[in-house]
């Protein structure tokens, strides 16, 4: 900035009428231009440099710690301890009917599912028990039948024996005849 001022002052002192030269493009104006161009060729680049440097400085934004979100102490904060930004601090109350109804719907759905599954389970268990009971009954019946059969066979045997005893007692000829009729073994 300083050299330009000195040039201007020189021009003014030497020419005497600076305004005329500037108004009409004549010889004095040309002289002035040449003089000006000779000496202060160096400063304009300086000016340019300053102009270029200024926007670069503006671009460099200084962030505050709050903006960066860097914790004050250099330590690990577990996930979930810090609340996310922009969220309401403290408890969220449920005081309106709509939100209560939505919570109720969720709870009811859960409970209905639970009850349904319980009923289903109890029914299945009931079916299994019924099947087992029937099986056990069938088995018992079979056992009873077997027992009855053996009983009957035992009775028959006893009867036969008693028949033999009765037959042998009265007379030998009849019993022999009966025996003969019973035994039918033939040898060729």
């Amino acid at each position: 900035m300083a050299p330009t001022r000195t040039v201007k002052s020189k021009d003014f002192s030497k020419d005497g009428n600076k305004f005329k030269g500037s108004a009409t493009p004549g010889v004095p104006g040309a002289n002035m231009k040449s003089r000006v161009s000779k000496k202060p060729k160096a400063p304009p680049p300086k000016q340019q440099k300053t102009k270029l440097a200024a926007p670069a400085k503006k671009k460099k934004r200084v962030y505050t710690e709050k903006e960066l979100g860097i914790p004050k102490l250099n330590m690990i904060t577990p996930v979930g301890v810090e609340l996310p930004k922009g969220k309401k601090k403290g408890k969220v109350f449920v005081d309106d009917q709509e939100s209560m109804m939505t919570i109720l719907a969720i709870v009811n759905a859960n409970k209905a599912g639970q009850i349904e599954s319980k009923i289903m389970k109890s029914r299945q268990m009931e079916e299994i028990r019924e099947a087992r009971r029937k099986e056990a009954e069938a088995r018992q019946e079979q056992r009873n039948l077997k027992l009855e059969e053996t009983k009957a066979s035992m009775r028959k045997k006893r009867k036969r024996r008693s028949d033999v005893v009765v037959d042998t007692d009265p007379s030998g000829s009849d019993s022999k005849g009966a025996k003969a009729s019973r035994k039918r073994v033939s040898f060729a």
Partner: protein, 191 residues
């Protein structure tokens, strides 16, 4: 006194749903109420000692005039939140639960006194019960004259309970009106 948070409301409703099923909506929006007025709009408030009160919005708003340490109770006390975050129903909630109960169990005259002294209900004392009741479901216990006596949890499903011997336990007691005398000194205290 403050309104309940979301988790608190969910815990409370899931407990009430054990006894009332879907009829809790009758508590939130009573069928004969006008939702536009505060006087009939009902709400749940959390008071001192983590007790939950069921009262009208109007009454809850009025209660703000009373200092917290001076306020003993507002509306009907339903129960309290334990320190582990679970909800425990008090016998005082019987008035609220009984009219909207889903499953009921009627006790014969000879079973009333054993129940009111804190005993469980045996099959021999049951007059009648609701059908299709699953195992471990909350039931309201009534006398044969339909007078609510308390509430409990069924030990067996209805089908299983039929096959049970007369001395077998059908319902585990949770609360009974005898507590008004037995727990007199702790039921309403605030300290």
């Amino acid at each position: 006194m403050r309104p309940l948070t979301e988790t608190e409301t969910q815990t409370l409703f899931s407990k009430l749903a054990n006894y009332m099923g879907p009829f809790i909506k009758n508590l939130i929006a009573p069928p004969d109420s006008n939702p536009s007025t505060d006087q009939t709009r009902m709400s749940f408030r959390l008071g001192n000692q983590n007790r939950v009160y069921y009262c009208s919005e109007y009454l809850a708003n009025l209660s703000t005039c009373v200092a917290r340490e001076n306020l003993l109770s507002v509306g009907t006390c339903l129960g309290k939140f334990t320190k582990t975050g679970k909800f425990r129903l008090h016998i005082t909630s019987l008035n609220v639960i009984a009219p909207h109960a889903r499953y009921k169990l009627w006790v014969k005259q000879n079973g009333v006194m054993p129940f009111l002294y804190g005993g469980n209900i045996v099959k021999a004392h049951v007059g009648r019960w609701s059908e299709d009741c699953p195992e471990h479901q909350g039931v309201v216990v009534l006398g044969m004259d339909d007078m609510p006596l308390g509430f409990g949890v069924v030990a067996r499903s209805t089908a299983e309970a039929r096959r049970l011997e007369p001395t077998g336990i059908v319902c585990f007691r949770q609360a009974d009106v005898g507590e008004y005398l037995r727990e007199e000194d702790t039921l309403f205290t605030t300290t």
